[in-house]
């Protein structure tokens, strides 16, 4: 059977359905991530968490939403009114709009043609994600500045410094992915992972680790939540916000988490790809193919509804894994000190990502020169090279060479101290000469 992409009136219908569906699903996932965060944190601390509203507390996010809408909106007298209101909008928008370029499942066949399960398969793909995710920092900085509050302002400043620092490492770790995939669209990256026979997390293991760390920093999650830092800055950039405006900041934080998780799943865990080649489908010269035969001729794909559903389930599971990882790490690791964040970003992540990009570029060039075909063997060689780089990186990070507590640093070690005290046990005032 010959599959054609959907066109004409039905393509508009399909597009509006997809936009509505994906937006709704993302918002619902965001809402339930807040619940998952509270439940998982409770389990980690041997508690139950919110389990009163509805079965297993499943209606809690709805109750929270209603509460936030009904609460009083405060507007500080000295705040800059326009920017104060603009900031939550600016921060919410990029976190939701980036989901448009992430493919969520295998193409779906309909009587009117095949529907790609992605809102916008634009040629700039990953660059669009990077561009829009960087825009979110404007909302954070603006919110911190417009509040006219010292703590909020400090939070905004920290957010900008941190975003700038980790954006570099994020982009450089992506470079390896783009070199291996040879394209920047996310559909192509998924297709190349299917062609390679393994997910990019293995042949590009160090890029995967660097990307995960940078993504944690980019989304301002612990251990990188310097902009919020409850114990230092009240709650940082959204100190002055209340009710739905505060909620918008929360939604955007969790929205960023969901988008970053989906992105990590797409770039390094094969996106919607499931093991085996039965689900592969990609547009190649106007045909929907599932791969190439040994002689270079194409093998036509046979999309089906159950394949779309199964691959969507795989994508959801991978994204969910990263979301749980986010929450799990948040409730395990304490926050870094500010100078540690900066030194990790500039002294560790940036040089490592740069060196790794060079190493991968060299390896890929060498393999292409040798003439090894793009496939499983190609992936294995890259896995071996990356594995060695990862071991080296972990060895360097380990043994306290880069991140240690202040107490472990040599200059901070004090052995004993003697204090002169008076009768009542209070330190004695020094005698005037």
């Amino acid at each position: 059977m010959d599959y054609q992409p959907i066109s004409g009136v039905w393509s508009y219908v399909a597009m509006s359905l997809k936009v509505t569906l994906i937006f709704t699903v993302v918002m619902v996932v965001v809402a339930y991530t807040t619940l998952a965060e509270r439940r998982v944190s409770a389990w980690i601390q041997d508690r139950h968490g919110p389990n009163r509203v509805g079965p297993f507390g499943l209606l809690q996010p709805i109750a929270d939403g209603i509460k936030n809408i009904l609460k009083e909106e405060t507007l500080p007298a000295t705040a800059s009114r326009v920017f104060f209101i603009l900031a939550p909008i600016l921060v919410l928008f990029p976190s939701l709009v980036t989901f448009a370029v992430i493919p969520i499942a295998a193409p779906l066949p309909t009587p009117a043609g095949v529907v790609d399960m992605i809102i916008a398969d634009i040629p700039i793909g990953i660059l669009y994600v990077l561009a829009f995710s960087s825009l979110a920092v404007y909302g954070v900085v603006l919110g911190g500045w417009a509040s006219n509050n010292k703590y909020a302002f400090l939070g905004g400043l920290r957010a900008s410094a941190q975003m700038v620092s980790y954006e570099v490492a994020l982009g450089l770790s992506l470079l390896a992915v783009l070199m291996l995939a040879g394209n920047v669209t996310l559909t192509e990256i998924v297709w190349q992972q299917q062609q390679l026979g393994m997910w990019f997390a293995f042949p590009l293991s160090l890029a995967f680790i660097l990307f995960v760390i940078s993504a944690f920093a980019e989304t301002n999650r612990l251990p990188f939540d310097m902009p919020e830092a409850e114990s230092e800055l009240v709650t940082g950039y959204h100190t002055e916000y209340s009710a739905m405006k505060f909620s918008a900041f929360m939604i955007s934080e969790f929205g960023h988490m969901v988008t970053a998780s989906a992105l990590m799943a797409t770039l390094f865990l094969g996106g919607w790809d499931l093991p085996g080649s039965w689900d592969n489908a990609h547009w190649y010269q106007g045909q929907l193919i599932s791969g190439f035969a040994a002689d270079g001729s194409v093998i036509l794909a046979s999309p089906a509804l159950w394949k779309t559903l199964a691959t969507f389930g795989g994508f959801a599971a991978k994204t969910g894994f990263f979301l749980v990882l986010y929450i799990w790490i948040r409730w395990t690791l304490p926050r870094f000190r500010y100078d540690q964040v900066m030194s990790l970003g500039w002294k560790v992540m940036l040089p490592t990502a740069l060196a790794y990009a060079m190493l991968m570029a060299g390896t890929i060039l060498t393999l292409d020169e040798i003439g090894l075909a793009y496939g499983f063997g190609y992936g294995l060689v890259l896995t071996a090279v990356s594995g060695m780089a990862t071991v080296g990186f972990v060895f360097m990070l380990d043994r306290g060479r880069t991140i240690t507590g202040a107490a472990a640093q040599r200059t901070q070690r004090i052995q004993t101290k003697t204090i002169q005290v008076g009768e009542a046990g209070h330190p004695q005032p020094e005698e005037a000469a």
Binding site: V40, W43, Q45, R47, W328, I329, T332, L333, Q420, V421
Partner: protein, 166 residues
């Protein structure tokens, strides 16, 4: 006088590792996450057993025919340190004294239990009860009918000759 302060010896920087510490921390939190035993008490379903000497809101004991046991002697408003009991006594044709008004302001009450101790006819008691939520403040002034309706158990008084309660 000198005091020497002990400073805990920290591990040397060569032997500390952030990565290993982080991973062991993750393993620990994971163990707690999947551990089904939780410490939270699921309150409305699971009730705490109150001590027999718990002193909560009051109970007025009644006779079999439904009259309050109170004889309006006036000892409880006299002994009450918080001055929260209002009593207006009356006398019927047979010369039996009874309370016309008996009100306890539970907001003022400090739950010392002296009213129960002083009562000669064991009429007023503090009770083993703590769920007292109301929608309005004036509902916290318990009148005689309300006190007689209370059905929670009354408090066991501390006995000086048996301090451990055995």
């Amino acid at each position: 006088m000198t005091i020497s302060v002990k400073v805990m010896k920290r591990p040397a920087p060569e032997s500390t590792s952030y990565l290993r510490a982080a991973l062991s921390g993750m393993a620990l939190t994971f163990k707690h996450m999947v551990n089904p035993t939780k410490v939270t008490q699921q309150y409305p379903e699971e009730q705490t057993e109150l001590s027999p000497r718990w002193r909560g809101t009051h109970v007025m004991e009644v006779h079999a025919d439904g009259r309050p046991k109170c004889v309006a002697c006036g000892l409880c408003p006299t002994v009450c340190p918080a001055n929260c009991i209002r009593l207006v006594g009356g006398e019927d044709d047979q010369g039996n004294r009874y309370p016309i008004v008996y009100e306890i302001d539970e907001f003022r009450c400090i739950f010392c239990g002296m009213c129960q101790e002083v009562c000669p006819v064991e009429a007023i008691h503090v009770g083993r009860h703590f769920e007292n939520a109301e929608y309005t403040r004036d509902r916290f002034v318990y009148d005689l009918d309300r006190l007689m309706e209370q059905d929670h158990p009354s408090t066991l008084l501390w006995d000086p000759s048996d301090p451990a309660g055995e």
